[in-house]
Amino acid sequence: MIELITVKELIGRLAQTFDSGTIEAVKGPTSLYGGLILGLIFGVVLQKARLCKYDIVSGLFRLQDFTVFRVGTPIIMVSVVLIFFFSEMGVFELHVPKTVIVPQIIGGLMFGVGIAIMGYCPGTAAGALGEGSLDAIPSILGMISGAVLYAEFFHDSWENNFLRWGAIGGKTFYEILGISPWYLVVLFLLMLTMFLIATTMFDIFIVFLRRTFNLFMEMTDALEEKVPPAAKPIARSTVETVKKFRQNLRDIFK
């Protein structure tokens, strides 16, 4: 005899499988499973946002494709609100990166050089490898060897002078100004909304131009294919061409 279970018990059993203990098991900054799960979701999102493509990232720096800005602005808008909300609720703490002005300016400039040549950031290089772009392999090897180069030859001599020029420490803007973070968040949201609208309009305009150009190119290709070989202009000698040109000029200025 099969025992019939009530709906209430079924829901109870379902709720047991989604136990919070399974989340607790992968929690924490050292858990490898937590990293793997986060990486899976992160890879899917990166691929769907098309950030893993050289054409998109390089198109941003060629000023002709603003997909990266159109993805990046909502990231900041949503997560700035959620992170400050949850940190005030006490769900998690902030982990503010340390500010060192001079090395970060120089490092940012060099990072821009690398991204202009290579077309991948460190995160999207891993994603591009999964997507089938094999040129991510030398990029990843290059990043590893760059880090090794720094550790071997530069870290010891720079540790106490260059890397401390303009060190502020792990401070944020609202701590420096001494105000509540929500003022800055609201200001930031207003600025980013305007920026998002502007970049979206600009990007749609560029896409329109590109589509039009492609359409004309396809039309000319199709027309050239339709012309029969006999109707093509026969190659003339240069003397005849010059004669014809002069004739045309005379016709114009008559």
Partner: protein, 254 residues
């Protein structure tokens, strides 16, 4: 009765079958299901359809005794079929991943630390006596940590997503690069290596990469993120216009 198998593909089928049998034997010997589950995942992920993802999620749900894999696979089936998401939904998904990383692993998403630790591991494998003397490897110990699991997860997630939506394409030279710099594979790979080297070096000076310093810094309103963002933007645009010269403008086919 003949089984309709493509004769050119028979060798790989036999190799796959032998591998699965080996994994089954290994699971029985070790009294753990992991080798068999791994073989099942590889077989089902190689050409993902909606039913194979569903089977995989169900198998992991039964195996791990938790409902989350099934829920995740259902979500993946429902959402990931299109080749691209629009930028704003993709950005919101990215922001949710960032907040989820704060909640689950108590740290912002960051990739470059994993590459640095890979360099540390490589050096301590090749030349352990010397690697012990380098002071920088005291900060980045040669241990497989969270960020490396994140990198593996990003690669697998991107592969899964691109295979499922039919966006996966093996290529060695990106389209825009072949427009600007020619079709040579060696040239592209050498430049990618050089760019990666500059990028790895710069990331070590600044103390993070795009996800670890820029996004997490801007999101927490730290000056570090803003400084890095501005200098990256300036460096990237200037280098792009110096590096590609007259070939900067390239019309991509959609």
């Amino acid at each position: 009765m003949k089984i309709p198998i493509d004769p050119t593909n028979r060798g790989s089928l036999i190799v796959g079958a032998i591998a699965i049998v080996m994994c089954a034997v290994l699971s029985i010997v070790l009294v753990s299901g992991w080798p068999l589950m791994l073989a099942l995942s590889v077989v089902l992920v190689a050409r993902p359809k909606w039913w194979s993802i569903l089977i995989l999620g169900f198998a992991y749900t039964v195996f791990l005794n938790s409902g989350w894999p099934l829920l995740g696979s259902l979500f993946f089936i429902a959402v990931c079929k299109p080749k691209r998401w629009w930028p704003i939904p993709a950005g919101i998904a990215f922001a949710l991943v960032e907040v989820f990383s704060f909640y689950l692993s108590d740290r912002p998403l960051g990739i470059t630390r994993g590459f640095t630790a890979m360099g540390s591991i490589a050096e301590s494998l090749i030349y352990p006596e010397h690697a012990n003397k380098v002071s920088y490897w005291g900060i980045y110990e040669p241990v497989i940590d969270w960020t490396m699991a994140l990198i593996v997860g990003v690669t697998i997630g991107s592969f899964l997503s691109s295979k499922y939506s039919g966006d996966f394409r093996l290529n060695t030279v990106p389209y825009l690069w072949s427009f600007s710099k020619g079709n040579s594979v060696v040239k592209r790979w050498l430049w990618a290596f050089a760019g990666g080297m500059i990028m790895g070096f710069a990331a070590r000076i600044a103390g993070g990469c795009v996800s670890g310093l820029l996004i997490s810094g801007v999101v927490q309103l730290a000056p570090a993120g803003f400084i890095f963002m501005m200098s990256l933007w300036v460096g990237g645009v200037v280098t792009t216009f110096l590096f590609y010269r007259t070939r900067v403008v390239a019309v991509r086919k959609d």
